[in-house]
Symmetry: C2
Subunit: 410 residues, 2 copies
């Protein structure tokens, strides 16, 4: 095959509020309308309070690149999304919620902040109702392209474990193939608490790949200066934190077939983390005073669990994410495009593949671009083969020297 | 000079509770006695609850290495500390509080958790009283060896800015040369809030080097499995967090002569942080949608402030802390021993210098081992010269091949 199977491990989908409304149980619709109005007002206030900069230059470019719709149509229009993916060379993708085009004023967030915000600031009942509405909408959206679309169900696990387990099973029934849990636990027990064991067991039993996704920030910023840059510098850490919490708690020891992906969160940080964790598990001068505490929950060294159970989906990868792929594990590295977010590679995905993967051996690039995700999510490669033969990036496109268009202007 | 001036940028000093008692104002002594009893009980309970491992093997070695006193005598006995430093080849050191020998049952913590815990869980009034008591004791301890001892005053800044500023001035008067602020702000405003500006101004005006020190963990662990390993994997991050919060808030732009040190927290993580921050400030595809927000508080790029205003004091440095010294900045890298903590290099400091610095060029090793700290803290090098000529590690000791004793057995 002289073309790559490309699977984006990070896409976002969701319709405008009026579409979501009909997927919500009727009794939640008045609360939904209120919440929408509040959210709009709060976004505007936060935008001002946090000292957002002037982004008018960016907006001009962005609108020109996206047929003037700000990219949002791709978030919920099946045909339009296919068209964009074809142009980009992407055969299939993993779909998360909240296709907001942040900074552009366009919003398509799952109801009651049930998406990337993990239900923060809402009654647990509403977070669950919002998640169910999104899951129903997403199942319909995926059913239109069952081979191209890998749906990730929203599962609010912080308040009602039984309901979470039931929704994992329901999502599986609806044809969704993964779950996303809140990235942060807020004031609830952290994920090393055995109270969540039924969730890990249900994800494993139903073959649902578990995800956390970057986005949730801390609650402690207040009114200081530089809030947005501070958040941008530490966001990766908040999103990665469940990884070492789950790992040291022995979750992957006790649920050996549970798969866990950290999405849109880079990969450059993982080699240091794995080295440091292994170093503690093996034991050194610095940890001697703690005795055998690092081996209590883990029979293997931490990186062994990572390589068996975990993967990273760095969207819009930087050179450092590629350079460190062997430290991450080439089989634990999943390409992602982040469509339709403005920080994603759209409409430069083919350019981005050339820039980043030009010098990466073909067999490694195959794994990173699509084969790892295909194996993880049980993608039907035969069903996608005709599409790949038509739109998949050629080896020459990625590794050759013919200029790629369009290329970013910055 | 064929010997190195070695300054440990991370030592801990503090007496047993009965000595501290007399440095406290009389009205706080009953509360102090209660607090001591509670602390002992809580330590024992936490030790059990957190599933601390069996460290009996370590304890056997540790007691054998430390004359059977567990190292604690060095925390407050002036002559004994000098003797240990002479053996170790250390001419001077920066002194933090809480010379606890954690895990060994021996405690010498500054009153009311005013030290590395940043006053967490105590009334602000008590935290301040405890800090003042420690500062008075420390001033006396330093006065016994004014050239070898660089005292760092405890300044609780979270609740009473005016009192904090007054204590900075008092500490300066007493001959102390730096301040330590709480590593975490708990439920108070984060350090990017302009409410703290008078503290930064007072530190700058009084020429007091500002520090945070690793140790404070988060409050969200609960009762899960693997708590200690989880903490050990993320402790460095909590301790480093003030660095990028202060930096993005423009604190080093507004207080260009303020110096800030992150102590006992490694250095390996800094090159990535600096690269990522600079990348955002310069601007890239990923940050385009945020417009000019990264340049709002900073005229120079983030790493320029770091190199001008900040330093890292990695105690017991690993090979990765050394290998990445150019990414950190050789002039921003301060050797530390962590005496008398069991994870410190004592009694292997000379061995550790050989292991880590054998292949580092002499001019770089000079800066890292002592000259950077000498410049930062205004050390009187002439006054120390005779001592260095006697006890300082020779170039051959660090860069030669004669075996160094004692060497660790693990």
């Amino acid at each position: 095959m002289d073309r790559y199977l490309v699977i984006s491990s990070d896409g976002h989908a969701g319709p405008p509020a009026e579409h979501y409304r009909e997927y919500l149980e009727e009794r939640y619709r008045p609360a939904f309308d209120d919440h929408q109005a509040q959210t709009r007002a709060m976004r505007e206030a936060m935008h001002k309070a946090r000292g957002a900069g002037d982004n008018s230059e960016f907006m001009k470019d962005w609108n020109a690149q996206t047929d003037g719709d700000g990219g949002l149509l791709a978030a919920y229009d099946s045909d339009y999304r296919n068209k964009v993916l074809d142009i980009e060379g992407v055969a299939a993708e993993v779909l998360f919620p909240d296709a907001d085009v942040l900074g552009t004023g366009r919003v398509a967030a799952s109801p009651f902040g049930s998406g990337l915000a993990g239900g923060a600031g809402n009654a647990p009942e509403l977070a669950l109702a919002g998640a169910k509405a999104h899951n129903r909408w997403l199942a319909d959206f995926c059913a239109q392209e069952p081979h191209r679309r890998i749906g990730v169900a929203l599962i609010p696990i912080l308040f009602d474990i039984e309901a979470a387990v039931a929704e994992i099973e329901a999502a599986r029934e609806m044809g969704l193939r993964g779950i996303m849990i809140p990235t942060r636990w807020f004031d609830q027990p952290a994920y090393h608490d055995p109270v969540y064991d039924p969730v890990w067991a249900a994800a494993q039993a139903n073959g649902m790949v578990m995800h956390t996704h970057s986005g949730a920030g801390p609650a402690d910023y207040g009114e200081g200066r530089g809030t947005m840059p501070i958040y941008a510098s530490e966001a990766y850490w908040w999103a990665a934190r469940p990884l070492w919490v789950l790992l040291w708690a022995g979750v992957f020891e006790r649920y050996p077939e549970l798969h866990y992906v950290v999405a849109e969160n880079g990969a450059w940080w993982a080699p240091d983390l794995l080295f440091k964790m292994d170093d503690k598990w093996v034991g050194s001068h610095n940890t001697a005073k703690m005795g055998d505490v690092f081996r209590k929950e883990l029979k293997m060294k931490p990186s062994d669990y990572f390589h068996r159970n975990c993967a990273l989906a760095p969207s819009t990868p930087g050179p450092e994410d590629i350079d460190r792929r062997h430290g991450v594990g080439v089989e634990n590295w999943l390409w992602g495009n982040d469509l339709p977010h403005p920080e994603g590679t759209f409409p430069f995905t083919r350019y981005w593949m050339r820039e980043r993967l030009h010098d990466v051996p073909v067999e490694e690039a195959r794994l990173m671009l699509g084969e790892n995700s295909a194996a993880l999510y049980g993608v039907d490669r035969d069903a996608l083969a005709p599409l790949v033969a038509e739109i998949g990036p050629t080896l020459d496109e990625v590794h050759g020297d013919t200029p790629i268009e369009p290329a970013p202007t910055f």
